[in-house]
Symmetry: C3
Subunit: 353 residues, 3 copies
């Protein structure tokens, strides 16, 4: 407020449209703080303090523009509670998302950075709700090892488009929705990627523009006990992925899930460019608790030329105990086997605010 | 709150003056999210997602101390919505400003980091309201290529003082205001600047103290249809700038603007140390819209020793369509010609919260 | 809000426990902005803009879970107001703390990153209230030169545990409290530390796991005019510290303080591994003002093998003038002598929000 008064006094007037003054706050603060204690089998693996979910501190708002039109924005910080750093100590400040747009009868259109249509849709069909838990499947098997953003800076995340337009239709007939994300080809400070080139002449030199326009499309249909999705995505190095999945609630407390996905990296990988993954999952509500279970496979991992060796298998079981609608305690156990195997267990607390 | 209870319990008591406990929140959150789609002419220039204005997420407050005295603070994050990073992926977290101070009959005095008196004043006389739009003039022609902070870290912005004291008089006789910014000479981790030295003996080695005390002064006079300013600034490498400008509203919806500025870099530049710039601009309110237009020149750019070659010319036209007092859509087109020329067009959405 | 609606529409449903939707905001924003002008004696020491206290922007909340149980979280950004950067331009975004936990009859248990039990307790017995003021004693003499986190990244702070569990008992019999912090041994990207090794074979290579489990314990007893504490801490390189201290209020406005601490670095330092420090302090409330005074010694500093040379002595006097319960002006003066001596004076403003 003060700043504005000084600015007004300084300059006599300000063009209203570019001025930050307004009558009332229109910002909601929200977030998640999830921290736990975990142990992974193997040599030299001390018990650690870690997380099951992404940790968020976000700011968002909706402005009613009249005639059914709304302006909306969202900024979401991601961080690591065990060390206090931004996510992975390397990602953008607003790693979660930074988007602004309009919503109306036509649906929702937004500009900025966020999860792609495929990545956002698929979280609803994964037994750990898309959380990046070690016991969960979202970041590896659920996407068949695919990354949405291979030309991003080192240490960046794998499931977002920067410099993108995001469109969601409204819910059609109460059942269907279509979601589209298209990114620009602009360079984004990637490190060099050798790909099908050589160390001296990498296929993608540092700070490359995208080889193709990256895009992502997903469609969902949900009615009563059933829901299904189909998605197709192409990233900046022309890797493509398609995925289908669904859930079914045979009885109210039980949600059964299944997904299948296939990644094709033939434009940038010489050996085993195709990866296939599938995941089966279940959620069961039991009183104040939620039981999570899953099994999945992925093969071959393209780092190896023997498909038999590279097959990844993962079994997981988890439990949430709700202390309130905002807070729960959890325990996870998983076994994941690729070339080598490890077991992982964790307990923790998950708090939304 | 919790923290404080624990802390109190831990230590038995706390000196009230250094403790964060208080009865009620006194913080306003505000900000801007501006994103658009833009294209620049030339080879290898894909359509990009960019911005017209600075993007802000700020926190500020005013505390009434009684007897007309107020304490005030402001912290402003700047960020890039297309990638989610902090501004330019290199600037301070609170790039916008971080200041605390007092306001009373004597005016406003603040300590910290913020726009210099000249830079803040001049935004009110620029046809794009001081926004860093490619179509706008603020960051180049409006300041004759000058930078307020040449001894700052690489990638930093060009228009602020760190380690500074900011003073604004109250509005005098309803017409006049004087603004003064003075910075300390302390070093701030600049990379080496060769200047009038050599690569082996740069004029300003890395992490140099300022050669002189940087300061900035601006004065404004505003009455009815007329406003004018004059400003003088000296930065840490003893470059000086003076600038004058004014606006005139012949009819209510029309604001005509003109500014002139001259930069003298003779203390750190050997060839063509002087740069002169001028800008003419107009804003016209048309219903819910605002038309922006401008023309400006700058010469010579000191990178070249032929003034004829180095002359910069820029023509711009823009349009804001207000969806509400807080949200507008915009379109800009500009042509800028220095040694080479480019055209630039953009459309986008600007949302204040 | 918007995000959630879109997400719901996209996926049909979301597991309630992992979803960010909730009815009302539960976040308090708080902070401190402290900035001043300071001068240190010696050659090449310009007057600077600096700080007396840590600068904070925090987010915290408490959720009542019923039956006396509460969930609580706290995230605290630290920053430098003179340049707008995060603290020291190198520390974690949430340098202050990032913790989540539960509070009940059993006390408070939290997970994440924060001050150790010793470091948090000792601030209440230091004449500058634990502020990192140059005139204060907290960061050097109050801890006998000890660092809680030697295996943290370069530029990190010295008084916190990452990857830790924090437990505080309730206040027992209205008098006693026990506080325990235990950290994991996980590596945290430290640079190599030679220690008792060699440059080629450092005792702690880069990204080392802790040699021992770091922990910190403190106990306090407070009744009426008296308070005392005892603390013991061991860090990741097996340096240990013990400390005792107390305060006494002979008359209401006067608080007298004394502490003694001894650091033992024999596991990582060859010469003079022991350091002893003591601090005497007083706070005196005088109308709207607070007078602070202190004297302390530390010896030997282990960088030198002549204890006589390495003795550190510091004298300080300070004054706070409260403009309100949230805002005060201050002045400090100190003289500190180790191998060389310097004087330091500062004046500034401290504003809580």
């Amino acid at each position: 407020m003060k700043k504005s008064l000084v600015a007004l006094a300084l300059t006599g007037t300000l063009a209203g449209a570019s001025c930050g003054v307004h009558a009332q706050s229109s910002v909601s603060i929200y977030g998640t703080l999830d921290a736990g204690i975990a142990n992974r089998s193997g040599p030299n693996t001390p018990t650690v303090v870690g997380k099951r979910d992404n940790n968020k501190l976000g700011f968002r708002g909706v402005e009613d523009l009249g005639s059914g039109l709304k302006a909306l924005f969202q900024l979401e910080i991601r961080y690591e509670p065990d060390t206090g750093t931004i996510e992975s100590n390397s990602r953008p400040l607003f790693q979660g998302q930074s988007r602004v747009g309009l919503q109306g009868d036509f649906g929702t259109v937004r500009l900025g950075r966020g999860l792609t249509a495929f990545q956002e849709t698929s979280t609803g069909y994964e037994p750990w709700s898309g959380m990046p838990a070690v016991a969960g499947y979202q970041t590896d098997l659920q996407v068949a090892g695919y990354t949405s953003d291979p030309l991003s800076p080192a240490g960046n995340s794998l499931n977002r488009f920067s410099n993108a337009v995001f469109y969601n239709t409204p819910l059609i007939a109460g059942i269907f929705q279509l979601n589209v994300t298209v990114a620009s080809k602009e360079a984004n400070n990637n490190p060099a990627i050798i790909g099908r080139g050589t160390a001296l002449a990498p296929q993608f030199p540092a700070n490359s523009q995208a080889a193709v326009v990256p895009y992502s499309v997903s469609a969902t249909a949900t009615q009563g006990k059933f829901s299904a999705y189909a998605a197709y995505e192409r990233n900046a190095v022309d890797t493509t992925l398609w995925s289908v999945g669904g859930w079914f609630k045979p009885i109210e407390p039980l949600k059964l899930m299944a997904t299948y996905q296939k990644q094709d990296q033939e434009e940038s990988v010489l050996i085993n460019p195709e990866t296939k993954g599938w995941v089966l999952g279940a959620n069961y509500v039991l009183g104040a608790g939620l039981i999570r279970a899953g099994y999945g496979q992925k093969r071959p991992d393209n780092q190896f030329n023997d498909p038999g060796i590279a097959k990844t298998r993962q079994y997981s079981i988890g439990y949430d105990y709700n202390l309130s609608p905002r807070t729960y305690l959890y325990a996870d156990a998983t076994r994941k086997k690729a070339v080598t195997a490890f077991n992982f267990v964790s307990v923790g607390i998950h708090h939304n605010f």
